[in-house]
Symmetry: C2
């Protein structure tokens, strides 16, 4: 019995959804106006439609946890490959026991089978084999009687009731039938999947390579985290945040350093990263203060799809492309950066890994406070969850501690009535 | 504003909960009878009360994602350390603007401040500084007027309404006050916490060492995964399953190989592992077929707390201890092994890492099928989740594909009425 493939989005089906997008390049148009923004859903669509899947590599199965299969897996043989007993008891021929409806039937115990490698025993009518859980059924046997239910005297077992076929056994192809599909390409492997792969003899698997993500931080006030900032300066934290986030999402982060608002230097670094990485994340340069340097540089080297996402409280996110390399410019505040990582960049990483079906955890809890809607933008409000209640966390987005103070976010759709105290809301857990 | 410590179980508070247990050693008594079992909650309690926390080590903060802090972290300085503007605009002295209630007030713009290292500007009454988001406020300034709201002619800004103090600024200690608690010991670090630590200059942190888990597989029918099994043999998969599970939970798995039901060899291996590891997991030897070899060996080398957990469908789990090393014997079927890993072993790993507050994801969904309760044992039924509905997955526990076919489990308490189609149930996500 295989995994029901239809229950999951396979790589192919996901790709289908984007045929439309890919054939209409104008849909992902350059947004010129400084104030023009796209809704979050559109930003995700753009990112998903531009992102290229990474190449493939073959790795040992015990290093494949969390990786995405780039091949479909089929059972190479019947598994377990022989009929097995699922209990301790006696292997019998069920048709021998039909007459037990009228009077007890006696069978002769002709031998004993432990599990593990065994001779090809054969059972003739009127005979039984004592057998251990996991043991290989003798040829001819089609059911096993539970040891506890058996009346045995010497080498004779007395059967009081007819036994139907297929009781307390696993058939040779009941786990997997030779050639049947086991996992579709695009499946993200979990520890339990590693076990399944090993059970069918797949000790190597073909998976998507981890995407390499170039990380650049910009900001005139930034100093390296190892420095002691002078008054007016702050430690650069975004590259650490993006690095840890990328690692956790199965990507390989590569730091390109800090640029202090120098467009030429940024151009040089982005150009270099676009030749060495699968995608580039620039943080800081998309805030208004940096005069949209990131967007300017991307525009010079490639194209810009949007310079903003219309959700509160963080709008400034640039999405562009240089050759085949996607470039995302994040806002400079770490707490805003984290929001965009969780809402947008995660889709980039999933699309590159070919993992469209990756789950986001959601929880339904009651609100402890009122949340008003904005007329024009979807609002995303951080919340902490305690005792299955969500409490909104408000604060200036420039404060770093906002980062550690929330468990997830609640979306308040633009133009809705908002939420009242006690309303049940959906929280997307970080 | 720090993390509200009281909202989280700190290491200390968790330890407190176990003072009672530790002072009553008889509570974790040896269970002699072959049929005597303990409820799951009791098994978890035993594991949590025996498990020792691992030692500590100091690591670079950028390698600390997922690790548990073994020190409490306090802010070494005020953060950001200087008063900052949160918008582009004009830094002013708010008391200068009180009279704007009656008539417009003019202030003279005496300079301009960009963010980054800056001179110690000073603002005298009647003056204003143009300032950039993130810029350091001049001494004396206590509010910032938004650029968009300002009426400027030459070097004169005209104020139409009084401006209260503390508008559009972050005070020097508003993110963190020197000495205030930032994270309690026992906190599990996430990417956003790495960013917070870097922001306060913590580029090294003291964390719990990863627990080293010895893994032994037993079973007469087992052959190494690299082999092609002969008829009657099956590939050993549990060590792969336990290895991947331990890695994902932040432990270091060490394989000790396969024992084909040889008590002496198992004794030797367990003895060796108990000297080299923080805990030992033996799979297979706790099924009835292996005649409780694992329990016998543990009993000989140390003590056995229980030989079974009273939940269906997997009862056979041995919990014992050799010196200070906890030994857990798991059932042999991979799908049963996985269930016990998720319900019991996870508590062992969390307790060793000093991470009591680690979250388990739960989801509330409606059932598509009836689930009957058992009179004596809690039942744990695997379910798949599609379109927010949970469908029970039934199957013989000897089948490996059960592993990959479910998203979580539902508990049906012993002696309850069970659940009907359409009932809302809590699913613990794997």
């Amino acid at each position: 019995m295989p995994i029901p493939w239809t229950m999951y989005q396979t790589e192919t089906r996901w790709a289908d959804q984007f045929v439309l997008v890919k054939s209409e390049p104008n849909q992902a148009k350059r947004v010129n106006s400084d104030t023009e923004t796209v809704p979050l859903e559109e930003a995700v669509r753009i990112v998903r439609s531009i992102a290229h899947k990474t190449g493939t590599e073959t790795i040992p199965v015990d290093e494949a946890d969390g990786r995405t299969l780039s091949e479909s897996i089929f059972a190479p043989d019947d598994i377990p490959g022989f009929d097995r007993a699922t209990v301790n008891g006696y292997a019998i021929i069920s048709s021998d026991t039909i007459d037990a409806q009228i009077r007890p039937i006696n069978l002769t115990i002709v031998g004993s089978i432990t599990k593990g490698l065994s001779k090809n025993h054969e059972l003739s009518p009127g005979q039984a084999f004592s057998i251990q859980t996991g043991g290989k059924l003798p040829a001819g046997a089609d059911s096993v009687i539970l040891e506890e239910d058996s009346i045995v005297q010497g080498d004779v077992i007395s059967i009081q009731h007819p036994v139907p076929p297929d009781v307390h056994i696993i058939r040779r192809d009941e786990d997997f039938k030779k050639g049947e599909p086991v996992y579709p390409a695009g499946w993200i492997l979990r520890p339990q999947d590693i076990a399944v792969l090993v059970s069918i003899g797949r000790i190597r698997v073909k998976v998507r390579k981890k995407p390499i993500i170039g990380i650049i931080s910009t900001g005139r006030e930034l100093v390296p985290s190892e420095s002691i900032p002078k008054s007016g300066e702050v430690r650069e934290v975004n590259s650490y945040l993006v690095t840890a986030f990328c690692k956790r999402q199965g990507a390989i982060p590569v730091r390109y350093g800090i640029i202090r608002d120098d467009a030429e230097e940024l151009t040089r670094l982005i150009e270099q990263a676009s030749q060495e990485c699968d995608a580039i994340i620039v943080s800081g340069g998309s805030s208004r203060d940096e005069h949209d340097i990131t967007a300017q540089v991307i525009h010079k080297l490639g194209k810009v799809y949007t310079e903003g996402i219309s959700f509160a409280p963080e709008k400034r996110t640039t999405i562009g492309q240089i050759d085949s390399v996607l470039v995302i410019g994040l806002p400079g505040h770490p707490s805003a950066t984290f929001m965009v990582l969780t809402l947008v960049v995660i889709h980039l990483l999933q699309a590159m890994k070919g993992s469209p079906n990756q789950q986001v955890y959601r929880k339904y809890v009651r609100l402890t406070d009122t949340l008003h809607a904005s007329k024009d933008s979807d609002r995303y409000i951080r919340v902490t969850i305690t005792d299955d209640k969500a409490t909104p966390v408000f604060g200036k987005s420039g404060l770093i501690h906002m980062l550690s103070q929330s468990d997830g976010i609640v979306k308040i759709p633009a133009g809705s009535k908002g939420y009242n105290v006690g309303d049940r809301v959906e929280v997307m857990i970080w």
